[in-house]
């Protein structure tokens, strides 16, 4: 289809423009830029151990962007559902002519806001690869032809692919991005002008088609992210496999102050964001913000734009702030405006960063409870316990009735307020090879119950955990879950 269109475009060009020379000249330019950029293009390979224990091999295109073989790729390839500890064997594959070289690499971290992730080649044998230059401030004009570069798969020796597009529109909100008239290839790959100046990377954008589109309101499209979005990260890439932290205010369930609501409140044509919920112990809570407060301005800057964009534009302005920075919010409460100062903090630990404890024999993985667990389940701030993240199908834990999402508060009547306590208590109790292991768990928001796990020491105790499923099949095939109260 695309090839047809391309052929048609080429034909049209030939017919309209006439001289064969012009077409050749463009092709020549493309080949030239391709030749200059190709040496910096790489493929990142790794495997993911999914939460259910299955493994998936991954190949993601990337490019060298800095000294000491700093490699950048799309952050979309590193999913938050899977803890970073379950991503293994990062390697950078470099295609040099027909020869492929694989170098060991270390994952440095990512920034989902800028949609990029970073790695560094650690293999001592690796030569310094040429880094792409990302000059800032190069204007991108409507209609300008651009090239993006990806690679073919393993069977084709990761050969470089070039896509040729034109800028179709400039998107302003929530970030500046450029819509193009064709296929851009894979996210994270570089985009350059016909003169070979790299102007950005391929990213994805949720295009807002308006409420009338219903469930299709947001359409995910490929765009060109200009270099400005991630330039700062090229100078100071993340470290330690972490997500780049953005300043945190601690409000959620935000809604726009619609024109009608503004009129209702006598706020005339002001824009605003209505706070639906203030998270316990957050900077917002400490500063005294309340649900139903309406934020009208931040640091003197009014919230503007179409009302459908108020929330996103406020959130994006927040992301620009620094951790520890004090901001002043003009809010509307009880029919009066007032100013509240808030010192933004580092965001709380996310579930993916939480420490985990796995016991293969019991077929369960648990992790420490994080602030967002309490927020999502509306648990009081003082609630303690550890969260069951995964129970293996037909494993001992699942047969006992334990479910993912349960919060374990006690093991054999011993409190497990945090992961360290759980690991200690659980392993100590398991070492006794008990006939039963009784857990006290919170399920849902309020209901607690006892879960009794019956280990099958005699049939599966000595075998490798891998065989556990098999032994199960011919054993007590239908063991009912613990009856629910």
């Amino acid at each position: 289809m695309n090839r047809c269109r391309l052929a048609l475009a080429v034909m049209t060009t030939v017919l309209v423009v006439g001289p064969q020379a012009r077409a050749d000249e463009t092709a020549e330019k493309i080949r030239d830029v391709m030749g200059r950029i190709s040496p910096s293009l790489v493929t990142v390979s790794y495997y993911v151990e999914r939460n259910d224990g299955s493994k998936a091999d991954m190949r993601v295109p990337g490019c060298v962007v800095g000294a000491k073989n700093l490699v950048m790729m799309t952050s979309l390839a590193i999913r938050d559902e899977v803890p970073i500890g379950q991503y293994h064997d990062f390697e950078v594959i470099v295609s040099q002519g027909a020869a492929l070289k694989e170098y060991k690499a270390e994952y440095l971290g990512k920034d989902d806001t800028a949609q990029v992730a970073f790695l560094r080649v650690t293999d001592a044998s690796a030569a310094e690869l040429p880094a792409l230059a990302f000059p800032e401030g190069k204007p991108i004009e409507l209609g300008e032809p651009l090239l993006s570069f990806g690679s073919l798969g393993e069977p084709d020796a990761y050969k470089v692919v070039t896509y040729s597009v034109r800028i179709a529109a400039r998107i302003e909100k929530p970030y500046v991005a450029y819509l193009v008239d064709g296929n851009l290839g894979t996210p994270g790959t570089p985009v350059a002008t016909l003169d070979g100046v790299v102007v950005g990377i391929v990213g994805t954008h949720a295009l807002d088609r308006g409420k009338t589109a219903g469930p299709l309101q947001f359409q995910r499209v490929q765009v060109v992210w200009p270099t400005e979005r991630f330039a700062a990260l090229l100078q100071a890439p993340p470290e330690g496999g972490k997500q780049v932290k953005r300043a945190w205010l601690g409000v959620s369930d935000l809604n726009p102050l619609t024109k009608e609501m503004a009129t209702y409140y006598g706020l005339a044509d002001r824009g605003g964001v209505i706070i639906g919920r203030v998270i316990d112990d957050s900077p917002a809570a400490k500063a005294g913000l309340k649900a139903t407060d309406i934020i009208l301005a931040m640091d003197g800057k009014n919230i503007t734009g179409p009302e459908g964009q108020y929330v996103r534009s406020f959130q994006n302005s927040l992301k620009e702030m620094k951790i520890g920075q004090e901001i002043s919010l003009e809010i509307f409460r009880d029919l009066k405006t007032q100013t509240i100062k808030v010192t933004l903090s580092e965001p709380p630990k996310e579930a993916t960063e939480a420490k985990r404890h796995k016991n293969k024999q019991f077929g369960l993985t648990v992790r420490e409870m994080v602030v967002m667990d309490r927020v999502e389940r509306e648990l009081p701030a003082g609630e303690t316990g550890i969260v069951v993240e995964f129970v293996e199908q037909s494993g001992w834990a699942e047969d006992g009735g334990l479910e993912a999402g349960d919060i374990v508060k006690k093991v054999q009547d011993r409190e497990t307020p945090d992961l360290d306590a759980f690991s200690k208590v659980f392993e100590e109790e398991v070492a006794k090879k008990p006939k039963e292991l009784v857990l006290f768990v919170l399920r849902g928001k309020k209901e607690t119950q006892l879960i009794r796990i019956e280990p099958r020491w005699d049939t599966e105790g000595g075998k490798k955990p891998e065989d556990a499923g098999k032994a199960k099949a011919d054993g007590d095939g239908q063991k009912a879950a613990a009856p629910k109260p």
């Binding site: 809604n255 009547d413 119950q449």
Partner: protein
Amino acid sequence: MRTLLLVIVVLGVSTVAVGCGAAFKANQSPLIWAEMEDSIKRARDMVYPATVRVEARKTEFFAGQRKRTGGFGSGVVFDPQGHILTNYHVAGQAQELSCMLFSKERVKAKLVGGDPWTDLAVIQLDLEEVKQKGVTFDWAAFGDSSDLSEGDMVLAIGSPFGLSRSISRGIISCRERVLGEAMQLGGGLETGLFSTWIQTDAAINPGNSGGPLVNMRGEVIGINTRGGGNDLGFAVPIDVAKDVVQQILANGKVTRSTVGLVFQPLQDLESFFEVSKTEGVVIASVEPDSPAEAAGIKPQDLLLEYNGRKVMGRYPEDLFQLRRMISDTSVGTEVTLRVRRAGKILDVPLKTAELTTVKSDEVNYETWGFVGQDITKRLATREDLKDTVGVYVTGVRGGEPAEKAQMAHGDVVIRCGNQDVTDAEQLKKLYDESVAKKEQMVLLMVRRGAAVLPKLVKVTYAAEAAPAQEPKKDSEPKPPATEEKG
């Protein structure tokens, strides 16, 4: 298929009876069949004339839209005053009732009282009309469901599929069936927490609901309530029904106590608790803001005695009895719970509270386009609501202001304009005022989960709108095109 099978069986019996007359003494089976037929007919004749077909009409809200619906079921007259026992889901919410008697005469009836927890209701024939029409009716006797055993032959009588009266025959398949505990009747009403079920293979189909399950002595031993396929029918034991009937006849309703405990069977946990097999029940969970919580009962306590009576909850079946023991206590009674906690025996005094249902009267905020109700204690517990303050939205009408403001079922209205909302009646006053003033914009604050969201309800009043002083008349619903008829 079932009909066909029955026909074959009956044909088989008659063939044997007629054709094998000579071999009668040598083979006992014709005699047994004949005896069985006789006893079926005897039992039938004792209950059949007391069985009625119940027709019910009610007005209720679906998605905020008022609809008239009709339904039918079965019932059994149990006294000379024309009291009829039937299911709550047949008659419990009806505004209009009529019964078709054995004589095929139709007589009006009225609701005496209902109990969703056991899915039972008592209605009464209009004795005036009975007298006027000169019709007669019979009544059946209640038996005893405590001495049933699996294999006992039973008859299910009723009006399946709204057809005229019929009988099906079967045996008791299980005398104490435990079904899932999270069962619901229409409108989210909970049911089935206080009794086990009699399971039978006698055919029970829609329309049989409320009809009697009868033993071979012609006594009612259960009320057919659930069924419909695979030879699985379920009846409420008559012993449970007797208590309910007694309370409804005395007070027009059934009042129950709660202490706010959720139990878990002790089965297999004895060694963990270091107790004998017949001692106590596990307290799995303590409901927030309940008497038990206030008295300091903790999850993982073992309940040993309830007000001096020993408690035994080893199997799931036992929990129903146990819940009934607590719910049967008069509301507000001081009771003592003996619990074991970490090896120590504690006596905890507390006062029982009234067990409510999730439902309360729905109020229609017609012009704003939604229907709401007070938040009962039970609703707050079931839906994890913060407290019982506010109005719980039960339905939002399509295309109306509330829906346009993206209000939804389950929202709790907590503020209207600058006034806090306490309950449905108070919001109705604010609503009436707003409609009288023809306010074009009303800002409601609703709580959804842990968030509070503003909802701007925009109302357009036609220039020649009906006088707002009579909102009731104004809001009388037009019958929707999709009205269901029974």
